[in-house]
């Protein structure tokens, strides 16, 4: 494997958790709910998956625990913002603070433990193709899953009736309620889906990307996933492209740090965050204000009954 191929491979690995988390949040936001708790749900996913994987020595159980943890956190968020119509921005922030703290508690006994690499799944024949072979057809299962998830979300939103319902509810919850669409139920499920995806992304971080647990290991990836949703103008295909651009930026800055260009490592570490700001900025300049944002995004829903 050449260095170039290795870099490409790590880009895929770095992009996958961003993509998974962004897709989950995208569905949540399309239903009209802004969940800023991605970072916290991701941290919980990472901590719980790692704890479960080490305890039971099973990657599968680890992944399940990660997804469950993310979904449970999301359920708590749903209770507060749907049940009590609480402010979504504040509640999402609280979820992040809570998630980071709880993840620290859960992960503390596992600091220092390591997991073996998850073996890649080799797609015969195709993986023998030069360059692209190993890049696209000899990845871990999560990578394939994330691509499948992108296609599924795109298909679900644009081609299914249930997806149409979800989009309508996100666009205008008042009208949707007037037509008798189940605003509350759809949003609850969309929030759970978002949480499960964040949990899965966290599990990927802990079980595949780093293979250990450390506090603060999500390092703002949840926030970058949130920015990706805006960057993607709430479209799954663009989320894929965006995730890979950001993944590439992250990996390249790591390689640049290793190469010791004489640029301080902190400057390179700041690249993903500055890039996020710049991406949001360029997008706004090009497209004007928040085009594509669901009409009811972030607004509390209180039907008169």
């Amino acid at each position: 494997m050449t260095t170039f191929e290795a870099i490409l491979l790590t880009i895929v690995t770095a992009s996958t958790p961003l993509l998974i988390a962004a897709l989950g949040e995208l569905v949540t936001e399309r239903s009209g709910v802004l969940n800023l708790g991605v970072e916290g749900m991701m941290a919980m996913g990472a901590a719980c998956s790692f704890a479960a994987a080490v305890t039971f020595d099973s990657t599968l159980l680890g992944v399940a625990a990660g997804i469950l943890a993310g979904a449970l956190m999301a359920a708590l968020f749903a209770l507060v913002v749907l049940g009590f119509a609480a402010n979504q921005v504040g509640s999402g922030l609280a979820l992040t603070i809570l998630g980071l703290g709880l993840a620290g508690l859960i992960g503390a006994p596992f600091v220092g433990a390591r997991r073996d690499p998850v073996p890649p799944v080799d797609i015969p024949v195709l993986s023998d193709l030069p360059v692209v072979g190993r890049l696209f057809f000899e990845q871990d299962l999560f990578v394939y899953a994330s691509i499948a998830l992108t296609i599924f979300v795109a298909y679900y939103l644009n081609r299914t009736r249930s997806g149409l319902m979800l989009r309508s509810i996100g666009e205008n919850h008042g009208s949707a309620h007037g037509l008798g669409l189940p605003v509350w139920r759809v949003r609850f499920l969309a929030i759970l889906f978002g949480g499960a995806c964040s949990g899965l992304a966290g599990a990927y971080l802990a079980l595949v990307y780093t293979r250990f647990w450390s506090p603060g290991m999500t390092a703002g990836r949840g926030w970058i996933a949130l920015a990706l949703v805006v960057f993607a103008a709430w479209r799954p295909g663009w989320a894929l492209i965006g995730a890979y651009i950001f993944g590439a930026a992250t990996v390249l800055q790591l390689h640049a740090q290793a190469a010791q260009f004489g640029v301080p490592s902190q400057v390179l570490s700041a690249v993903p965050y500055v890039a996020t700001i710049l991406a949001l900025l360029l997008l706004s300049i090009r497209r004007g204000r928040a085009i594509g944002a669901p009409g009811s995004l972030g607004l509390p829903f209180v039907p008169d009954r």
Partner: protein, 358 residues
């Protein structure tokens, strides 16, 4: 099954005042449950978290020390949140205030520079925080970029900047390679309020900020402008209040106060720059602001209450081997409970179980 919300026709002031108290008690019960799950005694934890700090004069001073940055930042955030702008990057503004203020302390280090250093440092701290806060404000007003994500991303950038400085150009050459600056000269140190006290003059600034804010928010057109912008942005525009000016103003104020908290903490408390100068004050202050219902006096009380959890968390770590993360988790729960309680003040919530709920 679903929840049914009915807007309350009138809200009694008693209910309004009780809501944060109820939220705090609920959060405490949840935290107690978590501690019990972890196999520790919630009673012992309560003892360490609350009773001990309040019964010990050293701890009481420590309470003021911790409450100072929380109150300063939260009072600034109240300006933003009242106008419905989500500055969640106060942590970054705090750091940048500390960095810019410290720059002067380090530049004048070992010189004969006199009494003017300290006030200039404090002013620079406010300028640094305000300028850093104005970045998301500018991006929002000029280009329509959401302030939520940009202000947060800038926290990471600020922390990396500080990290670079204390490991690189600003590192103390005699510091055995530790990532820290030289210890500030006395002229650059914020003095304690009383001899041999840990409480420094930052606490006085916090009290002044609270009093001034109480007048500004309650009695001035500017305060009304913020409320109107937050509650009915179109009406604010119709009233002739430019949204652009409002945004810039509240971000500058909250950034400036966070920056003041930052330089106050470094110059009055730590005495030098380190890679970490905050246990997350900028984020915790969000909880403080909401727990205090965005009201200056409320914030004063909330800052003291939340500072207690910091001190309690530190002693619980030592005495009960409870990790510090528990404090953070508690603060998250507390914020969720406060926001839910806010909703309970405005709506009557009823759990409806009926087939085919909507």
């Amino acid at each position: 099954m679903r929840f049914e919300l009915t807007p309350r026709t009138s809200v009694s002031p008693v209910l309004r005042a009780l809501a944060p108290v109820a939220a705090f008690i609920t959060a405490f019960l949840i935290a107690g449950f978590v501690i019990w799950l972890m196999g520790r005694s919630p009673v012992a934890a309560f003892e360490v978290y609350v009773t001990q700090p309040l019964s010990d004069s050293w701890a009481l001073q420590e309470l003021l020390v911790k409450a100072t940055p929380l109150a300063l930042i939260a009072i600034g955030l109240a300006y933003c949140f009242r106008a419905n702008f989500w500055n969640i990057g106060a942590e970054g503004q705090y750091v940048m205030g500390a960095v810019l203020g410290s720059w002067l302390a380090l530049t004048t280090h070992g010189t004969e520079a006199g009494f003017w250093v300290l006030p200039a440092m404090l002013a620079l701290g406010m300028v640094g925080g305000a300028a850093y806060g104005l970045i998301p404000a500018f991006l929002k007003t000029r280009f329509g970029v959401s302030e939520i994500l940009t202000s947060l991303m800038l926290v990471y950038v600020a922390q990396l900047t500080l990290d670079y400085l204390v490991r690189g150009p600003w590192r103390d050459p005699q510091g055995f390679n530790f990532p820290q600056s030289v210890t500030f000269d006395p002229a650059a140190t914020l003095p304690p309020v009383m001899e041999a006290s840990r409480v420094h003059y930052g606490t006085v600034f916090a009290v002044i900020a609270i009093l001034v804010t109480a007048v500004v928010l309650g009695r001035t057109l500017f305060g009304y402008r913020l409320r109107l912008t937050g509650d009915a942005p179109r009406a604010a525009h119709f009233a002739g209040f430019s949204a652009r000016t409002t945004t810039m103003a509240v971000f500058a104020i909250s950034g400036g106060l966070a920056g003041l908290a930052g330089i106050g903490e470094v110059s009055g408390q730590i005495g030098q720059l380190q890679p970490s100068i905050s246990p997350g004050y900028g984020f915790t202050a969000i909880t403080v602001a909401f727990l205090g219902r965005l009201n200056p006096i409320g914030i004063l009380v909330a800052a003291l209450v939340v500072a207690l959890t910091f001190i309690g968390g530190e002693s619980a770590q030592i005495m009960l081997k409870l990790p510090l993360d528990l404090t953070q988790a508690f603060q998250g729960i507390l914020l969720l409970c406060v926001l839910a309680a806010d909703a309970l003040v405005s709506y009557r919530v009823r759990l409806v179980t009926r087939g085919g709920g909507k």
